[in-house]
């Protein structure tokens, strides 16, 4: 409970800082609207639940941002609520400027979480190969042609949370979220949700 309160304060503070300045310069767009949570380098912030953005493709990021705008990314938890409000006031130009800036950020390694090292890597690799590699790629680097984001550089907390959201119908539920719907359906293929820890443990150690 104390942790959650602290988190909320941090997020709100970051958000307030972001909203206090309005500018559309490409470089600045990221610094002003995203860096408060995702960090200057884009490597993300485990405490805030903000993912590493530096491995994600331009098309994936801009699709998700439109999702937050259009309401097909839900806003039932602090992270998604924060994202929704963080970009609510930004016009299309500012959004594209931010996306362009993110695309230029150098790759940052995945942050290590408490769970990271606990999974069974061999099992994770087998499961990843069978269920994930056909879209996210053998090396985890994603496939824009299939709408599958790169997973390299993402922390395991973030991946586990997103997976849970897909399973629970909180992500990939909207008809306009074509690729999210595919992921939601596939997420059910991993029958035992505990196995996602093995998969994410395998993925976090994949190199760029």
């Amino acid at each position: 409970m104390r942790y959650r309160n602290r988190l909320a304060t941090l997020v709100l503070a970051a958000l307030a800082a972001g909203l206090s300045v309005v500018s559309v310069n490409a470089g600045d767009a990221y610094t002003q609207h995203c860096a408060q949570c995702h960090g200057e380098s884009g490597a993300g912030n485990l405490e805030l639940g903000a993912p590493n953005l530096t491995g994600l493709s331009e098309s994936y990021i801009s699709r998700q941002l439109s999702g937050f705008k259009a309401g097909w990314r839900d806003n039932r938890d602090l992270q998604t609520r924060t994202m929704t409000s963080a970009i609510a006031t930004l016009d299309d130009n500012s959004l594209s400027a931010a996306v362009a800036a993110i695309a230029r950020l150098p790759h940052q390694k995945a942050k290590k979480t408490a769970q990271t090292q606990s999974g069974d890597l061999a099992r994770g690799k087998d499961l990843y190969t069978a269920y994930c590699s056909a879209c996210h790629g053998t090396n985890g680097t994603g496939n824009d042609a299939l709408g599958a984001p790169s997973l390299v550089g993402l922390d395991s907390d973030y991946m586990n949370r997103q997976y849970r959201h897909f399973v629970e119908g909180r992500r990939g539920f909207h008809p306009d979220d074509r690729y999210g719907k595919q992921m939601a359906r596939l997420s059910l293929a991993v029958k035992d949700p505990n196995l996602i820890h093995d998969i994410s443990s395998y993925v976090v150690q994949l190199p760029f």
């Binding site: 087998d126 190969t129 069978a130 269920y131 879209c135 790629g137 053998t138 496939n143 595919q182 596939l186």
Partner: protein, 482 residues
């Protein structure tokens, strides 16, 4: 009418029937001409003779009882050359197909693939680097694969896939990832082959998530399985990429497998490995497949010099058994259990692990009198000459309905797509998520596939299948449940 007359009458009838089968027309194809054009002209029962020359084409045979015969002159072979552009050299779905005396090189998918045709014969072909598979009869009954030479194949050189009553005899396979694979197949004799310098020599196993769920009744006999130490060069992520280099014979989930009278030497990981389905992948989640290897009999094999340098995880496994060397014979995972009912002859002769609970089986002395055809059964398989059927299997008929779609799916698609395991193409499960119930989109895609997965091979176009059938097959695939 006396008995003799009846007999003679029967004889004449037989001759008439035989001539009806053997006296089909003969078509000749010369260098610069098209083999496919001759197939198009041919009718059931015809023979096509192909003369020396280089042929850049894919030949489809969907008629029954066609014989494709290469003519070799002064050592010059008819040569099918895919130039690494074409996917397949010969695709047959007709029954009673024979192909012999071809040199086949540089295709991306298969040299010779059977797509559900029964009663086939594939002999005397010389296959080099034809991509994923060399000779691959899929979903066929009653076939002979004999006297072929295959090398440089990045998955299996000879792949008996979901097929029953098959003899694989006297072939030579080398420099491939897998030499000979018997996968989800029943009643198979693998005899007298040379499997050398592959990653793995001879493999009997179940791939989970395919329409045929079992692999049993295989005899692996009198083969030379030597020096299979080629580093694994399969596509990363594919199932065979998990086979340790240095594997002589691998039995994984196969039942009733007899391994008898082979010469197995110089395989650096191990001579014979018997294990369960989770050896190569832990995703063996096919509830209809039994992952255990039951009733394996290992008898009277000559084995030495195996296990000199175990590959990867196998090295760690052997270190855990206080050995730096790999074994002649290793039973691993559930294959060690007594209830599997496996047996070993002359166990003391081999360096082996995990066989403590296996029973002893007999490897009797074979005297000269025991070796003749009329000899009594002395408890070996030597009386058994073939696993093929005495009478031909019923021809496979493909009807324009859901049953036909299942045959086409099994005969073509399942060669690369399992339900929830990555073979060559993406699993059916992924396709289902991608397309939902959009049957038309799948039917259109397979006719003109565009490559969208850079780490997977290109899907070969299936435009030769009618749209009606493509729609039926797409519906079948999107409705699969494991």
């Amino acid at each position: 009418m006396n008995k003799k007359t009846v007999f003679h009458g029967f004889g004449v009838l037989c001759l008439l029937l035989m001539s009806a089968v053997t006296l089909g027309a003969v078509h000749e194809v010369k260098d610069g001409e098209s083999i496919q054009a001759a197939v198009t002209k041919a009718q059931t029962g015809d023979t096509i003779r192909v003369f020396p020359g280089t042929y850049h084409e894919t030949v489809f045979i969907d008629k029954d009882d066609i014989s494709l015969v290469g003519v070799i002159e002064d050592g010059e072979w008819p040569h099918l050359d895919g130039e690494k552009v074409l996917n397949d050299a010969i695709l047959y779905s007709g029954n009673g197909f024979s192909v012999e005396w071809f040199k086949i090189t540089q295709y991306k998918g298969n040299a010779i693939m059977g797509q559900s045709g029964n009663n086939f014969s594939i002999r005397n072909n010389w296959v080099i680097d034809t991509g994923l598979y060399g000779i691959f009869p899929e979903f066929g009954h009653n076939g002979l694969i004999e006297n072929n030479i295959l090398s440089e194949i990045e998955d299996a050189a000879i792949y008996v896939g979901m097929s029953d009553y098959i003899d694989v005899r006297n072939n030579q396979v080398f420099d491939n990832v897998a030499g000979i694979e018997v996968e989800n197949s029943r009643h198979v004799l693998v005899e007298g082959n040379v499997a050398r310098n592959n990653t793995g020599g001879i493999l009997v196993f179940i791939t989970p998530g395919l329409p045929i769920k079992s692999s049993y009744d295989a005899i692996i006999r009198r083969n030379f399985v030597t020096n299979n130490n080629t580093p694994n060069f399969a596509i990363p992520g594919s199932l065979v990429a998990g086979i340790p280099s240095g594997t002589g014979i691998l039995v994984m989930s196969g039942d009733k497998v007899v391994i008898e009278d082979n010469i197995i030497t110089g395989n650096n990981t191990g001579g014979i490995i018997v294990t369960s389905g989770d050896f190569v992948t832990e995703v063996a989640s096919d509830k209809e497949s039994d992952p255990h290897s039951d009733q394996v009999e290992i008898r009277n094999n000559i084995m030495f010099d195996n296990g000199n340098d175990p590959d990867g995880e196998m090295k760690l496994l052997m270190l855990s058994k206080f050995s730096t060397k790999g074994p002649d014979i290793l039973a691993y995972q559930s294959a060690t259990q007594k209830e599997r009912g496996s047996c070993i002859s002359r166990r003391e002769a081999y360096r082996s692990y995990g066989l403590d609970e296996w029973t002893d089986c007999d490897a009797p002395t074979v005297r000269a009198v025991d070796a003749v055809v009329s000899a009594d059964d002395i408890g070996t398989t030597r009386q058994l000459m073939t696993k093929m059927l005495e009478a031909p299997a019923d021809p496979r008929v493909i009807t324009a309905d859901a049953d036909g779609a299942e045959v086409v799916y099994s005969g073509i698609c399942a060669g690369c797509h399992a339900y929830n395991v990555r073979l060559i193409g993406p699993p059916a499960l992924v396709i289902q998520a991608q397309y939902g119930d959009d049957v038309q989109a799948v039917a259109d895609y397979v006719a003109n596939p565009e490559r969208r997965r850079p780490d997977f091979p290109s899907m070969p176009p299936q435009g030769h299948i009618s749209e009606e059938m493509r729609l039926l097959v797409a519906e079948y695939m999107l409705g699969l449940e494991g």
